[in-house]
Symmetry: C2
Subunit: 231 residues, 2 copies
């Protein structure tokens, strides 16, 4: 239950447990915004990110809500993230086959629920960590999606609510650079699209994380399968 | 599981179990569209509408999905539909106190999920039964909401999907008139906002239904509390 005591914080953060939303969390904390963190189980293979999200909220003493949409797994089929018959693509993140990882309308579903929670709790801002590297793969991370979604947010209720994506024009490398400066505990984040105990290091998502740490001239605190360290 | 055999029907219908979406179902059947029906448990008091939705799908041999969002009940608080501390308002449907029945962002949440299901199943149209009488009470039934939502629908994925609300400029009386002509089995619909065994006949929603049958010069097949018949 969200209590009135949480309201003054005036923000909802969609916290996936990945690098981008974790960095966004520390960005908000820097701005003295203590968001209510909302995570979603939409049947993704990589449930480890949810464990990370919970931990990130816990270490920062933030209210955390896990919304269970796992029932949608078989209805939003066709993505490697939710459909066991679709293998996780390996290779470069910007390759055509990475489109197999798109869960149809996932962001709009998550943002709609977060907007509803915001309105019901007198909160006006919903933050999410879409970034520029996502644009070619995830249609629902593009600035034009965020802009149009905000036009709906403006009229979906008698009170207005706003969706804010401060990283939407930044690359993952730039986000990581900012996060390293803010001492984001990246050991509490999960990026790999597989279910392995350690990140695989070869899926598109791992490749993108590895490149981001290289860009930031920083060492990734996670150890990859095969004991390889990156950064 | 939605199978390929369902795809040719090329429509999703948000079927609440109320009069409007039931009439929309028969309108689609008249057009030879056999929609996949999707209903939502968002923690509403009046669960009877879901029993009606299931029955309407069953008698028409349609695929029916019930999406369980009851977890959102305590997060989307403040509406009489989901919050036990807010009494169901009685009286006229267009009165200011009917705004207590608004569940924040409910339609956008339901439509986003229905859009995701449509995209994942190669379906291009999502139908819902918003009508003109709702406009002053439910911001997410207004034509401008539907228009803006469609602008998001247009870019939320690499394939396009469309939200269609054919009754958005019709009154409930006009919808009922059309439904009576199409022989919609209104005994399989539920409108009352309370949990009573029979409709209360005094809540705003019952009042609106009673007026619609009066407008259509038809008899409501439901019997109201106290044995009163209407129409």
């Amino acid at each position: 239950m969200i209590t009135a005591a949480d309201n003054y914080k005036k923000a909802i953060l969609i916290l996936s447990g990945g690098m981008d939303s974790a960095t966004l969390l520390y960005h908000l904390l820097d701005l003295k915004i203590h968001p209510i963190c909302v995570s979603f189980n939409y049947g993704q293979r990589h449930k480890k990110e949810l464990v990370c999200a919970e931990k990130l909220a816990e270490v920062n003493k933030l209210h955390w809500e896990l919304i269970d949409l796992s029932q949608l797994r078989h209805l939003l089929k066709g993505s490697s993230q939710t459909d066991d018959s679709v293998p996780v693509p390996v290779g470069q993140y910007d390759a055509e086959n990475m489109k197999l990882t798109v869960v149809p309308n996932r962001n709009m579903i998550m943002l709609s629920i977060a907007m509803g929670i915001a309105i019901a709790n007198d909160i006006t801002q919903v933050f999410y960590g879409a970034h520029a590297g996502d644009h070619t793969i995830y249609p629902d991370c593009r600035p034009e999606f965020i802009e149009k979604l905000n036009e709906v947010a403006y009229i979906c209720y008698w009170k207005q609510v706003q969706v804010v994506a401060p990283f939407s024009l930044m690359t993952k490398g730039e986000i990581c650079t900012q996060g390293i400066e803010m001492k984001v505990p990246y050991e509490l984040t999960w990026t790999c699209y597989t279910e392995s105990e350690k990140p695989c290091g070869i899926c598109g998502s791992c490749n993108e994380r590895i490149s981001a740490f290289e860009f930031a001239h920083a060492k990734d605190p996670l150890e990859y399968l095969g004991g390889v360290a990156h950064g």
